[in-house]
């Protein structure tokens, strides 16, 4: 039980921290002018030169391996509902680290999605 709790923590914190670092990197990169292959490749090349992007990669890799290990120990109907908490943790991160304006409507939506994902995965 302890190892599942530890790896669940690594999954949630790793993915949230990694995605927040990734968001910082993408915002610094700036959006592609058009969604065409050449422009997207240019955008990806620019993103690959960003430090925040590379800070996010090991954190996301950590959460990816935590997910793989959890899936090998527990059914998906346990792993996904438990990891749904990352929607709430991620929204806190978006508000306090990224400075996004999270309205009541968005908070309500996030909580509904979190509970909904847990219910769907429980089957």
């Amino acid at each position: 039980m302890i190892r599942v709790t530890v790896f669940l923590f690594l999954l949630i914190v790793g993915s949230t921290a990694g995605e927040i670092a990734m968001t910082l990197g993408m915002k610094a990169t700036g959006e592609p002018e058009r969604l065409r292959p050449v422009e997207l490749l240019r955008f990806l090349r620019k993103a690959l030169c960003n430090g925040w992007f590379w800070a996010g990669i090991p954190l996301m890799a950590l959460s990816f391996y935590a997910l793989l290990l959890l899936l090998s120990w527990k059914p998906i109907s346990f792993v996904i509902p438990a990891s749904a908490l990352s929607y709430v943790v991620g929204t806190f991160g978006a508000k306090y680290i990224l400075g996004e304006q999270v309205s009541i409507a968005r908070w309500t939506g996030v909580v509904l999605v979190c509970v909904g994902v847990a219910l769907v995965a429980l089957g």
């Binding site: 190892r3 995605e19 927040i20 990734m22 968001t23 993408m26 915002k27 990169t29 700036g30 959006e31 592609p32 969604l35 997207l40 955008f43 990806l44 993103a47 997910l67 793989l68 290990l69 899936l71 090998s72 120990w73 998906i76 996904i80 929607y87 991620g90 929204t91 991160g93 978006a94 508000k95 990224l98 400075g99 996004e100 304006q101 999270v102 309205s103 409507a105 968005r106 309500t108 939506g109 996030v110 909580v111 509904l112 999605v113 979190c114 509970v115 909904g116 994902v117 847990a118 219910l119 769907v120 995965a121 429980l122 089957g123």
Partner: protein, 142 residues
Amino acid sequence: MATEGRLRAKTLVMVCLMVLCANVGDLMLKRGMLEIGAVQLSAGALAHAFRMTITNGTLWLGILFLWGFMVSYMTVLSWADYSYVMPAGAFGYALLSFLAVLFLHEAVSPRRWIGVALICVGVLLVGQTKPRTTEAAREALA
């Protein structure tokens, strides 16, 4: 107003691409890990599991789809809020339930339907908010 509409439309396209790639990728990962079996937490077993994961074709196919997810995710995050994109991406869970009923004729429990309804309402609520609210985004819009 036209800029706002264009922003919503391209965000929707990228979120749909994200959902498709993430769902197919996750299914492939689960299938790949089932082929490998339960991983034990010892140095030898972890090294063996690592070798198995990098030589498993299904896992690589899953990784290819997750790469597609990653590119669309990175692209949409360059203009949209993280707190907008993240819950919107959860629509995939609801979509999977609809697909399971439509194409696999699976029986879906009332609890799961309630979950699907909550996700749909949640995504609709998040979808009604502005896709981007940060300072840099407002400057770019101006």
